[in-house]
């Protein structure tokens, strides 16, 4: 019996020839990532358990990316950044992307990719549930809490229960108006918010392999919204081209064997996919966008690790070009690199930033911003009964701030089309 990519990576990191789903193993960790919300708690547990003068297991393998509560006057949030700074300097950590410096990046999952920390075949843990995003690079990556992160800081190891793998294959070609966000919302709708709990979501098929790295990241990013432990896409030339531009470190690629054992397999015909939304208040509350055209919105929000990458904004710009938005529309680049792309890259002679400004959008600085609500003064946060169409990842009650607001999760095409009409709008109405 063969092995899946995930099983092969975990076996290699546990010093075994093979592993079996359900087995508990200890793995060696290649990268531990933390940020401003969970870093301080992780650091305090690390010191409590390993001693005041303890050193991290390997400074080369620790990456700290403040991204959540950056542009706020909240004194506790700002104090938490100081705790990160102090730890980085005390431990001499080379990979720290400090707030207020040229080194600042923004949302950790996208920064990890852009800064070359995502490498095929590696094992990456992060104190953030969307750490599964990195699986787009053919690696094992998953979210953990402060205690597990502190354990890794001290030992470089963590126990893992080997997950069963579910494979989602898309064959053929996606229509032009379909984005990876439509696909992940479709699948979560099909299997439910706990449909992949404890399991790997493996993406396959020619339609998936035709996606860019950014689109692949969107697919893997929301595996956690189906309960998935990790998501994975095998590394191919597209992956290697992206990775080799950004790191010189060696890595190894793995593929699933033909006779690997899958818990579940489903094949979709890519050409039949339609734009979808997740209605309030759950990411699996799926509906076709065209079925929601009577729903009025107060706000459109385009940003986050899920929907704030360059390709997401290029899609939105295609729709917003030369037009005016009908509702408050917030543009929040995931990282400073994405922000620079908005300033420099053009569509029909205009920079993306100008297209958004002329359309009447409000532009925010790179960070997690209102994806998860956050402190009261967070850019784009809801405070009342707003109905929002958003390219973010969760729409549980209160996720974007106010418990009374209602969030529809959608692709950047749908969020932009809806911004122009003030109701949930199928992008096909705008793209023809």
């Amino acid at each position: 019996m063969g092995l899946t990519i995930t099983e092969k990576i975990l076996a290699a990191h546990a010093g075994k020839d093979k592993v079996t789903p359900g087995e508990t193993i200890w793995v060696d960790v290649d990268v531990l990532m933390t940020h401003d919300v969970c870093g301080p708690g992780t650091i305090s547990i690390f010191k409590e358990q390993f001693g005041k003068n303890a050193k991290v297991f390997d400074p080369e393998k620790v990456v700290i990316i403040p991204d959540h509560y950056i542009f706020t006057s909240d004194k506790h949030a700002n104090r938490n950044i100081d705790i990160l700074r102090e730890f980085v300097s005390e431990q001499n950590l080379p990979y720290y992307y400090d707030v207020g410096t040229e080194n600042y990046k923004g949302v950790c999952h996208i920064a990890l990719a852009q800064e070359g920390h995502n490498r095929p075949g590696e094992v990456l843990f992060g104190t953030d549930s969307h750490t599964c995003t990195s699986g787009a690079f053919g690696m094992f990556s998953t979210g953990i809490g402060n205690t597990d992160a502190a354990f890794i800081l001290g030992t470089g190891k963590l126990w893992v229960k080997v997950p069963e793998t579910m494979q989602f294959e898309f064959t053929g070609k996606f229509p032009d108006y379909i984005m990876a966000k439509d696909i992940i919302l479709q699948v979560i709708g099909d299997i439910g918010v706990d449909g992949a709990t404890y399991r790997t979501m493996e993406w396959a098929g020619d339609a998936i392999m035709n996606f860019s790295m950014e689109e692949r990241m969107t697919l893997c990013n929301m595996a956690i919204e189906a309960g998935g432990k990790n998501a994975v896409i095998e590394a191919d030339e597209v992956t290697l081209k992206y990775v080799n531009k950004r790191t010189n470190k060696p890595y190894k690629t793995y593929n699933s064997d033909q006779d690997a054992n899958y818990f579940f397999k489903k094949t979709y015909n890519a050409s039949t996919m339609e734009p979808v939304v997740a209605k309030p208040h759950s990411p699996d509350n799926k509906a076709l966008v065209r079925e929601c055209s009577d729903i009025k919105i107060d706000r459109s929000y385009i940003g986050s690790c899920t929907g704030g990458k360059y390709n997401d904004f290029l899609a939105a710009a295609n729709i917003l070009y030369g037009k005016k938005v009908a509702v408050n529309t917030f543009i929040v680049p995931a990282t400073t690199e994405v922000f620079k792309d908005l300033e420099c890259k053009t569509l029909n002679g205009k920079t993306l930033l100008n297209i958004f400004k002329e359309a009447g959008c409000e532009i925010g600085d790179a960070s997690c911003a209102a994806c998860l609500g956050g402190p009261k003064d967070t850019f784009g946060r809801t405070h009342g009964t707003e109905v929002v169409v958003s390219t973010t990842n969760r729409n549980f009650p209160g996720r974007m701030g106010s418990k009374q607001s209602e969030v529809y999760l959608a692709s950047p095409y749908t969020a932009a089309a809806s911004a122009l009409t003030g109701r949930i709008t199928d992008p096909r109405e705008m793209l023809n």
Binding site: G41, H76, S129, T147, D194, T197, G373
Partner: protein, 185 residues
């Protein structure tokens, strides 16, 4: 480890996510400062919509205005309890509010791991949902050795699921104690 846990039940529905357990705006307080961390108790479960707070009636405050601890010490959940973010503030805030055990049909993976590895409380599972057989305010008794849950208010007793692969970590107290016991650290 206590062999018998008794307390009043607070009943919640399916898919209680970490933003309902502790809304993200509160994730700024220190978890190590004894005074500051009380805020987590104060805001525990403050994101649960009122009609779903304390079933079956709803509209039951988990922590009263001006308090940092709850009168309830056992949470009854449905399926996929603790889904959403990886924030350890979620099990931490429940512990700070005084929760001693959670009993649910199933858990989201990271919340379950955090509860066990951090040694906050034992996340027990049951074969069936308990939403219809336990009401908020019922007095419950968990017997660890027998692996049973008794509802003193109704007299009903049922079996809890075995802890499986995490039993040794639960027994040791947390992942660090387990690692020390087994000579890893």
């Amino acid at each position: 480890m206590k062999q018998i846990i008794t307390g009043k039940a607070y009943v919640l529905g399916d898919d209680i996510d970490t933003d309902q357990i502790i809304p993200a705006e509160h994730l700024v307080y220190s978890l190590s400062d004894p005074e500051e961390k009380k805020n987590y108790g104060k805001f525990a479960l403050s994101g649960v919509p009122k009609i779903e707070a304390g079933l079956p009636e709803g509209n039951k405050l988990f922590v009263h205005e001006g308090k940092f601890e709850s009168e309830y010490t056992i949470i009854i959940g449905g399926k996929n309890f603790g889904c959403g973010s990886s924030r350890e503030h979620a099990p931490a805030c429940l512990k700070i509010a005084g929760i001693q055990a959670i009993i649910a049909k199933s858990y989201a993976r990271i919340f379950y791991r955090n509860s066990v590895d951090g040694g906050f409380f034992i996340p027990f599972e049951t074969l069936d949902k308990l939403l219809n057989s336990i009401r908020t305010g019922d007095t419950l008794k968990i017997d660890l050795e027998a692996g049973t849950l008794t509802n003193n208010s109704s007299g009903q007793t049922l079996k809890l699921q075995p802890l499986g692969e995490v039993a040794e970590i639960v027994k040791a107290g947390n992942i660090f104690e387990y690692a020390r016991k087994t000579g890893m650290i």
